[in-house]
């Protein structure tokens, strides 16, 4: 399981040139691979993603000797890989959105509190963050799966667990420096309450960082889901989640490579584009960069 795009996002300051030059490319790929399939899977997919047909099992893709009936081949049970991959986009998107949303909210709230109030709040929060960093998330995931079975909610929980402490740490750092700035001091002198200072003056200033970081986590979450599926504790079958599809087809990597390759490519393209897009977004939103 990869760590959150740790320093990747933070500090990585300037992105590679590719994204800033062609922001439309990643957006287009994301639309094609992730967004459109998520919303219109039923319209686009040629087959029911759950419909098995044993006589048609392990048909190769059309470019490797297969037929147009199953353009990207079939899996062990004769299910259409193209359709399953298209439907898989829904799960990639929903896990990412829900998991990142919750993790971001939690982490940002905690980070805001720690950075703003400092003192004991900060000490305690940062120790909890330390504990959660030192606790191997994968073991946590295994234990949880053993206790409650694996489920969509379980995967979300692990995602949130991995992300919150990371966001808490980043946001706290930003807040620590923000609260020393003039406009915060002015607000305080003007008699603004804590709530007002936090939400009116500090939060808007960390939002850009949070949005950029959150975008860059989409790739992390998709890869995390794949790792959990590899360990058999991801989204339960027969849901065609990408990670599960890749994990499930991995033993067939020689004879029926398409079973894992196609969903693997979907992951690759999505994560690649998300990162490019995130880079572009950072160039746009990071005030430090705007000066240049």
């Amino acid at each position: 399981m990869p760590p959150p795009a740790g320093g990747v996002a933070r500090g990585s300051g300037r992105s590679f040139g590719l994204a800033s030059r062609y922001p439309l490319v990643p957006i287009t790929i994301l639309m094609i691979v992730l967004v459109i399939p998520s919303f219109f899977a039923d319209l686009i997919a040629p087959h029911d993603p759950y419909a098995a047909s044993v006589p048609n099992r392990l048909e190769p893709p059309v470019f490797a000797g297969g037929t147009w009936e199953f353009p990207l081949g079939t899996d062990r049970l004769g299910r259409d890989i193209l359709s399953r991959t298209i439907h898989g986009a829904k799960y990639a998107l929903s896990i990412s959105l829900v998991g990142i949303f919750l993790g971001t909210i939690l982490g940002t709230a905690v980070g805001l509190a720690a950075g703003y109030f400092r003192g004991w709040t900060d000490r305690i929060v940062m120790r909890v963050v330390d504990v959660s960093f030192a606790l191997p998330s994968i073991l946590l995931a295994l234990a949880l799966a053993a206790a409650f079975g694996s489920s969509f909610e379980g995967v979300i929980f692990v995602v949130v667990f991995v992300l919150w402490s990371y966001f808490a740490r980043q946001v706290r750092g930003e807040v620590l420096s923000l609260r020393e700035r003039d406009f915060v001091a002015r607000a305080r002198v003007a008699g603004a309450g804590h709530g007002r200072i936090i939400f009116r003056h500090i939060l808007p200033n960390v939002m850009n960082t949070v949005i950029v970081l959150a975008t860059l986590q989409i790739g992390v979450v998709i890869i995390l889901e794949a790792s959990l599926s590899f360990l058999g504790i991801g989204i339960p079958r027969p849901t065609p989640a990408w990670g599960l599809l890749v994990a499930d087809g991995r033993a067939l990597v020689v004879s029926a490579w398409w079973v894992s390759l196609i969903p693997g490519l979907a992951i690759l393209l999505t994560v690649l584009s998300v990162n490019l897009f995130g880079d572009w977004l950072r160039d746009r939103l990071d005030p430090k960069l705007r000066q240049r």
Binding site: A5, G7, P136, L142, F230, V253
Partner: protein
């Protein structure tokens, strides 16, 4: 200085304690070792005897304090799955394999990513920069188990250059270490590059050039020494991800380390071993981060006092 370390140390102890509580609760929540270790056709009566023998019928709190008491005496209990060995003994048996693979992976990461990041920054928008960009993005876009399997097939079977799996000579380490460091290389390259870009704009870099220094000295001495602090911070994160990464990579490459052990232990509900793994891991994590703090002081003289 000593006060600083005293505070750090006591905080680490508290963190470790909190971790034992969480892990204890989680492992016990996850089910009984009896179910995992007994054969399928074992009778309920046989299970009951074991439960009593292992004291699993006592209240959880009692079990926890017994465990804590033993731990304070350095005793993590006997393994339930590797019978005949202490839990900590099992973990320490497997630890060298993970440390070896993990440090080699970190080494590969540093040896590849830092120069790549430096070159990419030094020749911004050049071919090297673009390749580093592509490599970095690819590294973050492939699930590592899948990459591992593909490496096994390509280099182990099709080309036959390297052993497919298992622990043995140096050659056995190459594929798993690459698979393990792949993601890290990506992250580290990006980090190094951006840190270098920040530093290369600094006035002292201009001054170094004004002095008539060659680009090599400017980039690799003056810039890198100052940019190094950012990848160094990442080293702490890296240490944390070794165990996480090793769980998957060690399974694919049949590398008998603690990642593999952790899975086996948690599947076998071997509580003492799970607890030992987590404690050892937390200690490694804490030590690694302490080491990062020390390295900071070395890299940045401003922190030294």
């Amino acid at each position: 200085m000593s006060k600083f370390f005293l505070v750090r140390f006591s905080e680490a102890i508290v963190a470790l304690w909190a971790i034992t509580v969480i892990v204890f609760a989680l492992t016990h929540l996850s089910g009984s070792p009896v179910d995992a270790l007994l054969p399928d056709d074992a009778t309920p009566e046989q299970a009951q005897m074991l439960i009593e023998e292992w004291g699993l019928d006592r209240p959880l709190l009692v079990q926890y304090f017994t465990f804590l008491g033993n731990v304070l005496q350095g005793d993590f209990g006997d393994s339930l799955k590797w019978r005949g060995q202490t839990a900590m003994g099992v973990v320490l048996d497997h630890l060298p394999a993970t440390l070896q693979l993990g440090s080699f992976a970190v080494l590969i990461g540093v040896v590849v990513a830092v120069p790549l990041g430096v070159l990419a920054a030094a020749r911004k928008n050049s071919a090297i920069d673009t390749s580093a960009n592509v490599l970095a993005l690819l590294g973050q876009s492939i699930p590592n188990f899948w990459l591992g399997i593909i490496l096994v097939w390509l280099f182990g079977v099709t080309l036959g250059w390297l052993p497919t799996s298992g622990r043995g000579g140096f050659s056995h380490m190459i594929l798993p270490a690459i698979a393990m460091s792949w993601f890290q290389i990506a992250a580290l390259t990006r980090l190094t590059r951006s840190a270098m870009l920040d530093v290369l704009d600094a006035e002292y870099i201009k001054l170094a050039r004004i002095k008539g220094l060659g680009e090599r000295a400017v980039v690799w001495k003056h810039a890198l020494r100052n940019a190094a602090i950012v990848p160094l911070t990442y080293f702490g994160v890296l240490a944390g991800s070794i165990l996480t990464g090793s769980v998957v990579i060690e399974t694919v490459f049949a590398w008998p380390g603690i990642g593999w052990l952790a899975i086996e232990a948690i599947r076998g509900r071997d509580y003492p071993v799970v607890q030992s793994v987590v404690v050892v891991f937390a200690v490694i994590y804490i030590l690694a981060n302490l080491l990062v703090d020390l390295l900071y002081a070395y890299v940045d003289p401003r922190i030294r006092r």
